[in-house]
């Protein structure tokens, strides 16, 4: 069974998103009228220097902080329109957004399978079903042989693949990846990108990869540059990701 055979409707649409920290004279406008669109099955890059607003945008998209104004649509649902349209943001993050972090941040006291199965379990799936789904994902990401291992026993690349499996576990329409290749060498970084692209296509998931990793920037077909809180879209090289390297 293909774990990605029942994808949720994907896509990200951000319109006129603003985020202002503070009030009055001390107010800082971190995001100024940001517009973005990511289609289902697409992987786009979000690049920019430090302090440009990348993390703020990711936190707004991840329903961690509330934007000041604008509109955000995940899948077919408007989640923010000058105010949250979703009551349970925690459930929104759990069910509709997958996160991949710079470091894998796996839960050290759970084995690999349960790290991945935890999200479906939190969503209410029976343990056995959640573990079955986790094993399918681990197989798809070629780490099924480490299913019973503890995170500390895995290599950096294996840990990152497990964290990708965790992000996919609830079949979210959107994955937000924050510097997912930063700690990896070129070969493994490209392998992670290949996995993300494969997953995006198989599950029709919209993926935003925040990065300033020069190794992977050429792999994006579309890139959003963010500077001073504003995004500019440009076409990427879309360099083909060759088979061979393993993360």
């Amino acid at each position: 069974m293909n774990p990605m055979n029942t994808p949720q409707p994907g896509g990200i649409l951000i319109e006129g998103l603003r985020k202002v920290y503070g009030h009055g004279d001390t107010a800082v406008e971190a995001l100024k009228h940001v517009n973005m669109q990511v289609a289902p099955g697409e992987v786009v890059g979000l690049v920019g220097p430090s302090g440009s607003g990348k993390s703020t945008l990711l936190k707004c998209l991840g329903a961690i902080i509330e934007p000041t104004s604008g509109k955000m649509t995940l899948g077919n649902e408007v989640i923010y329109d000058n105010g949250w349209k979703v009551k349970d943001l925690r459930a929104l993050r759990r069910d509709r957004i997958g996160f991949v972090f710079q470091a894998p941040y796996l839960i050290p006291f759970l084995d690999v399978t349960d790290n991945v199965a935890l999200l479906p379990m939190l969503a209410g799936l029976p343990n056995a079903t959640a573990r079955e789904r986790a094993l399918e994902l681990l197989t798809a990401l070629d780490v099924q042989h480490r299913a019973r291992a503890e995170p500390s026993q895995l290599s950096g690349g294996e840990q990152q693949r497990v964290s990708i499996a965790r992000a996919l576990a609830n079949r979210p329409p959107v994955i937000l990846a924050d510097e997912p290749t930063a700690p990896l060498d070129s070969e493994r970084a490209l392998a992670v990108m290949r996995i993300l692209n494969q997953m995006a296509q198989q599950a029709q998931t919209a993926i935003i990869v925040v990065t300033h990793d020069e190794k992977i920037i050429p792999t994006f077909k579309r890139i959003y540059h963010i500077r001073d809180g504003q995004t500019v879209e440009e076409a990427g090289e879309g360099r083909a990701l060759e088979e061979g390297a393993s993360a």
Binding site: K59, I64, I65, L92, R93, R94, F101, I107, L122, A123
Partner: protein, 396 residues
């Protein structure tokens, strides 16, 4: 849903078990303190029950013979025997002192009693009762004496002819029963040098050595070396009489204080060991606070070491109650391990204590509940910190 707390405990079980062991020793001390208090109360009950008395007749306006000193003449017992409702009455004398065996001191309560009457040991675990008027003794097993041992009290040697048990003073000293005459003599018996000195001092006093009063000096000197006093008269009442019904005429006509069993229990438990009970109570409070502080510190430290994981858990949608439950379960787990260890060590080391330590199941149950409540309260600080963790911290 898997148990996050259980997995975390299993992941770092050695640290958890060692911490639980340390906490357990502290809980063991707490349970033992409670056991010491219970032992004191039980000793007091045993002291009263084993004296087989219904009434304690003592010096007027005193709360003797256990809580205060009491001195009455030894012929009072005869008039008490004649009072209505009195089935039996006997003199008793109590002296807490050091006695010697093979040159080694042992602190005991020497009890002067009349064999077969109230105040005498009710049962023996070995040997026989005292049958001679002098120099025989019955010892509580806690003295460590065995049958045939020779014990030195002041200048005389006593042979242990019988052993009894659970006969201790309110202070926990084991009892050594001797004939009443010997006990009376022991109270005032001095060494030879002191007797010679006293005689010379009295003879030098012209008031006791006047011409025309032959025999006065000898009479005074005889008084100085003998005693007709006892500490109390123990009374058993005849069937059909209420304790107060028998006590009241003795108070009224004999000008003595009389206490019923309930009143004497009150004196021993409420008054005599009240200070000790408060002392132990203070220890219990301090130990509970220290235990709670340790649990709180450990759980807080463990939580602080998992802030990143907690941020990730919150980011991926774990509910606050799941995270709070994880921390609470760990605190309760620590408490349960601690309690199990504490109960075990308290049970193991209780017999080693010199005084009786009584571990009641009810106290253990109360200790378990207190431990769980304490752990719950101690986990609140860590839960507060965990719930304040920003899920955005996982993103950086």
């Amino acid at each position: 849903m898997i148990s996050l707390a259980g997995r975390d405990i299993l992941h770092g079980w050695s640290k958890f078990v060692l911490t639980g062991l340390g906490l357990g020793l502290l809980i063991g001390v707490t349970l033992s303190m409670a056991g010491i208090y219970r032992g004191m109360v039980d000793d007091a009950h045993a002291l009263l029950a084993n004296s087989r008395a219904d009434l304690w007749v003592v010096q007027q306006d005193t709360q003797g013979p256990y809580a205060e000193s009491s001195s009455i003449k030894d012929d009072v017992v005869r008039s008490v025997r004649g009072m209505p409702g009195v089935a039996a009455a006997a003199n008793v004398a109590y002296l807490t002192m050091q006695v010697q065996k093979n040159g080694q001191d042992n602190r005991v309560m020497v009890v002067g009693m009349e064999p077969g009457l109230p105040g005498a040991p009710g049962y023996l675990v070995a040997g026989r009762h005292i049958t001679r008027n002098h120099y025989e003794a019955v010892a509580d097993v806690k003295t460590g004496y065995t049958l045939g041992d020779t014990v030195r009290i002041r200048r005389h040697d006593y042979t242990v002819v019988g052993l009894t048990q659970r006969m201790v003073s309110s202070g926990g000293d084991p009892m050594l029963f001797v004939p009443m005459k010997d006990a009376q003599e022991t109270q005032f018996l001095k060494d030879n040098d002191a007797i010679v000195n006293d005689r010379a001092r009295t003879a030098a006093n012209p008031a006791f050595n006047r011409p025309g009063n032959p025999g006065l000096l000898e009479a005074v000197q005889a008084l100085q070396t003998s005693s007709r006093s006892v500490n109390a008269v123990l009374v058993q009442i005849a069937p059909g009489f209420a304790p107060e019904q028998v006590a009241e005429p003795i108070r009224r006509w004999k000008h003595l204080s009389v206490y019923t069993l309930d009143q004497m229990t009150d004196i021993l438990i409420v008054k005599l060991i009240a200070t000790a009970a408060k002392q132990i109570g203070m220890f219990l409070v301090i130990l509970t606070i220290v235990s709670a502080a340790i649990v709180a510190f450990i759980i807080y430290t463990m939580t602080m070491g998992k802030l990143r994981e907690i941020a990730v858990l919150k980011l991926i949608g774990t509910r606050d109650r799941t995270i709070a439950g994880m921390i609470l379960q760990q605190a309760l787990g620590l408490g349960l391990i601690g309690f199990a260890v504490g109960k075990l060590v308290a049970t193991l080391w209780a017999p080693v204590f010199p005084k009786y330590v009584l571990l009641l199941p009810g106290d253990s149950l109360a200790g378990l509940v207190a431990t769980l409540v304490m752990c719950t309260l101690a986990s609140t600080l860590a839960i507060r910190v965990a719930l304040k963790v920003d899920p955005g911290a996982a993103i950086g």
